[in-house]
């Protein structure tokens, strides 16, 4: 009984802490991405390392500069780039074309993310 209670508490805590996608807005710095379409994805809470590491599963080359004042990550493929900073409640998504399917995929990925814990170990630049 005690174990079931403890498990329930742990699960509730995880649900409480889960970061979800709130909405996207045209990036405040569209011009920065040199012709790519850029959006800012607003989140329900500041990103933690676990959240950032989960994003790797979207695919692409991943860079995490953990030694900076606030660590920076970037996930990049030929068609999109995600970038953000640990502790911010948003990150940027840039796409090569106005690709609604891809943008939606990122949204769904965030909201339907699994519970696989990536907090131990990380890839570095």
């Amino acid at each position: 009984m005690k174990n079931i209670q403890q498990n329930n508490n742990a699960n509730q805590k995880k649900e409480k802490e889960r970061i979800v996608f709130v909405r996207r807005i045209p990036s405040r710095e569209r011009c920065a991405e040199s012709g790519w379409y850029a959006w800012d994805y607003l989140l329900s809470a500041p990103m933690d390392q676990a959240f950032i590491m989960r994003l790797k599963d979207l695919g692409g080359s991943f860079v995490f500069l953990h030694m900076l004042k606030k660590p920076f990550f970037k996930l990049e493929s030929d068609y999109y780039a995600l970038k953000g900073v640990l502790g911010d409640d948003f990150f940027r998504v840039a796409t090569h074309e106005d690709n609604e399917v891809l943008l939606k995929r990122v949204e769904n990925f965030i909201n339907g993310a699994d519970d696989h814990d990536h907090s131990e170990g990380h890839d570095e630049a």
Partner: protein, 433 residues
């Protein structure tokens, strides 16, 4: 937040500017010739023009006209020349507010582009060569030189005195864009023989966004293209546009194309004259008395904005332009000297060749957009990245299609801001090396 993006718009503004804007909103509005109320507001227009005259080296301050900013001014000046695009010369270091109006002026035609060197400097000998060749060839004769005084990418300050002298030798009109230099570098419009000039209020002049203007030398053949209420002589509907010419019907408005041309264009271009008309109207010297009847300041001006600009220009004059230039150059020199020692940092200029309050760099192995993102979101330092609305210069300075990270300082930038930037760039460069 450390703000190093003053070339985009300056921040902060002096207290007096904020107060002047608020006071103008609270006071009776400036009449702008439309009422007798708000005399203080009208005085602020004239005061502002007098201040601008001192800062831009213009004696005839009544030939300064307020607009919404440099972009509007440049569009009005370019179209007011009533020339085809191929009759303009501009430079590779110029901003899209010069390039786009030119490239969209005449279908199928482009202006001549003078190259710049790796520092962003345009060489007078290149202009001499271009104009001499044009004179000897059968090409469309070049009629207007239009360029920016200071590059918004590298801070290169052009030798306007010599460039203007050469242009004048070949009979060109000279139009100068002082968006990046007004308020922080010496501008001597009269001494340099400038025919027209565009300025913005919200950069180094420290005014608010949505203000700016242009100067047109009395007698310069730049015609009005924007018409509307002026608060003067309301019964007048037409303006004689040139001295009488056998090729143009008297009192005609050459803004409608002859039927033979209008049908063939995909969209109407009322500001480009066919050669049969443009030569006769624009080559004729502008009758100065006629020019005095033209009105270039139409519609209702941004009264509170101009009041703020009057306060801002007064503040700049009080601080002394030379002191501002010296302080900002010292900041830029510090950045060049210290960024240059960080491994992996590529600079696009040096203190010997680049004297404006702007500089650009990149970090090897990182895109400019990523560097700028990290500087802002990890370190709280605002910069700008990319092509900076100056697409042509990057092919000359070697920065490529992703552009650069740009730093632009102001009087309010201090040593701690620069140290924070240097520290951040140092950490970033180490992280990717």
């Amino acid at each position: 937040m450390i703000y190093l993006n003053n070339a985009a718009t300056s921040y902060p503004k002096p207290q007096c500017v904020q107060k002047a804007y608020a006071a103008a909103l609270a006071a009776l509005p400036a009449g702008q010739f439309r009422s007798g109320a708000g005399n203080d507001g009208d005085d602020s227009f004239n005061l502002c023009k007098k201040n601008l005259g001192k800062l831009l080296g213009i004696a005839d301050t009544q030939r300064i006209y307020f607009t919404s900013g440099a972009t509007e001014s440049l569009n009005l000046l370019i179209r007011g020349c009533r020339r085809r695009a191929s009759q303009f010369v501009t430079t590779a270091q110029d901003h899209n507010s010069v390039l786009r109006p030119l490239f969209n002026l005449t279908p199928g035609e482009e202006p001549k582009i003078l190259p710049c060197d790796t520092f962003g400097l345009v060489h007078p000998k290149d202009l001499e060569q271009l104009l001499a060749h044009n004179r000897q060839s059968r090409e469309n004769p070049l009629k207007v030189l239009i360029l920016s005084h200071c590059s918004n990418v590298t801070g290169a300050v052009q030798n306007i005195r010599d460039l203007s002298r050469i242009a004048k030798k070949y009979g060109l009109l000279v139009i100068l864009d002082v968006s990046q230099s007004a308020g922080c570098l010496e501008v001597r419009a009269d001494a340099w023989g400038i025919d027209a000039l565009a300025f913005t209020g919200h950069k180094s002049l420290l005014g608010v966004q949505g203000t700016g203007g242009m100067y047109i030398r009395r007698g310069a053949p730049v015609f009005p293209v924007k018409f509307g209420g002026t608060g003067r002589d309301s019964s007048r509907l037409t303006y004689p546009l040139a001295a009488a010419s056998p090729d143009s019907p008297p009192g005609s408005l050459p803004y409608s194309l002859p039927d033979s041309l209008s049908g063939s264009l995909p969209y109407s271009l009322p500001y480009s004259l066919p050669d049969s008309l443009s030569g006769s109207l624009s080559d004729s010297p502008m009758d100065p008395d006629l020019a005095d009847t033209y009105e270039y300041e139409t519609g209702t001006g941004n009264g509170p904005g101009i009041a703020a600009l009057a306060a801002a220009t007064g503040w700049v004059l009080e601080k002394r332009l030379s002191a501002i230039t010296e302080k900002e150059y010292a900041c830029i020199r510090t950045l060049y000297e210290n960024l240059g020692t960080i491994p992996g940092v590529k600079l696009y200029g040096d203190p010997k060749h680049n004297h404006g309050p702007v500089m650009s760099f990149n970090i090897q192995g990182m895109k400019a957009s990523d560097v700028s993102y990290i500087l802002q979101n990890s370190y709280g330092i605002v910069t700008r990245c990319g092509l900076h609305c100056a697409p042509l210069i990057h092919g000359h300075i070697g920065s490529g299609r992703d552009g650069t990270v740009r730093i632009s300082v102001s009087w309010f930038t201090d040593e701690s801001d620069l140290n924070a930037l240097l520290h951040a760039v140092s950490e970033l460069s180490a992280a990717v090396s």
